[in-house]
Symmetry: C2
Subunit: 218 residues, 2 copies
């Protein structure tokens, strides 16, 4: 696994714009397959076949299956944070922004299902190991963005002063992740009426969180 790579010792510090023909195709194929079946269950030959190149070519570009996986993770992280940043805008009342953030995040998870599953799996499989720095990075950025947004609302007096903003952020993200994880199971359950309606789900989440579940003060 720590073999002598012939050439390409440090192939491209920044991803060079030109070149990259087969490499991109390989990355795309690998992303889909890894997300679908996980690292161990995907042979390099399958990735090569899907990308329309030879197996040896995969090793030519990435040296190791492990390095390919890392590259896929890196790419996925980049894409994820990019979309997320575009989405995190929002103004208006605080509860509206809560609703906006929760909805945007859930939509993001569902739209980028493959990437989401890939990163999520990475967290489940090996919390601090392997590409932890990567997953952690996305995770960190997302989490911090949300925390900042909530803290702003708190500073403006739109949120209880004694609230722990990071716990609030965890509640929001957790609710979305739970939906993403569990929807395939929930959809078969009578008790869960929300499983097929993510919009309504995140709206309710935000509303309950903001207004509380106590009986309406009459």
């Amino acid at each position: 696994m720590e073999n002598t790579q012939r050439q390409v010792p440090a192939p491209a510090p920044a991803p060079t714009p030109r070149r990259r023909k087969g490499a991109e195709a390989i990355l795309e194929a690998a992303e889909v397959l890894f997300a679908e079946r996980g690292y161990n269950a995907v042979p390099v030959s399958a990735i090569a076949a899907r990308a329309g190149v030879s197996k040896a070519n995969v090793f030519h570009h990435f040296g190791t299956k492990d390095r390919l996986y890392l590259a896929v993770l890196r790419r996925a992280c980049g894409a994820a944070t990019q979309v997320w940043h575009e989405r995190m805008a929002g103004d208006g009342a605080f509860d509206a922004r809560l609703r906006h953030a929760a909805g945007a995040h859930l939509r993001h998870l569902l739209e980028q299902e493959e990437v989401s599953r890939l990163l999520l799996r990475e967290v489940v499989e090996n919390g601090p190991r392997r590409g932890a720095e990567l997953a952690e990075k996305v995770f960190d950025e997302h989490f911090d963005g949300l925390v900042r947004m909530i803290r702003d609302g708190q500073r403006n007096g739109e949120l209880r002063e004694d609230a722990d903003v990071s716990v609030v952020a965890a509640l929001l993200l957790g609710a979305d992740v739970f939906f993403f994880l569990a929807r395939s199971v929930l959809i078969h359950m009578k008790a869960a009426t929300f499983a097929s309606d993510p919009e309504r789900y995140s709206d309710l989440i935000a509303e309950y969180l903001f207004s509380g579940l106590a009986p309406t003060h009459k």
Copy 2:
């Protein structure tokens, strides 16, 4: 995979109390290893070694690696629901019961870390496939128990009448699952102050959910 099993065609409709010597050891070893590394990354030989039996013995008892995995899942499901039921008791005011449920569930996840990771992985990896009926069963029971508890509170007027109980349950469970999943990542983050204190976390979760995050009505 669909080979002729010599004996034991329907070995024990209910798990027979006697026999079971090596089999139990194999199940235990497999549970730990599968939880740690996942199905594909664990060779049968490793399970056999850990259980102190020969590889062939594993096949003698379970016929297939796949069937062994199923058996592990089944066992884990049983243990999980049992503990859960013991925990779901609780009386007092509704918000106290909310807090109790959230805390108990999170404690349950953390104490049974291996089993939790096993089942969680099963949901992430293949939502509706393979042992879905199993994971779904635990999931269903847990979720339904929580939903019932919340609905009871609602009937007693301790909870907003218009609240969707299943969404509330999802919020609670999601928050806990998120904690379980993310704690290894969160623990390295400055923003998350709660990562090392599950008790406080679930207390806050329940309180925010019940009282809401709106500025305190003065």
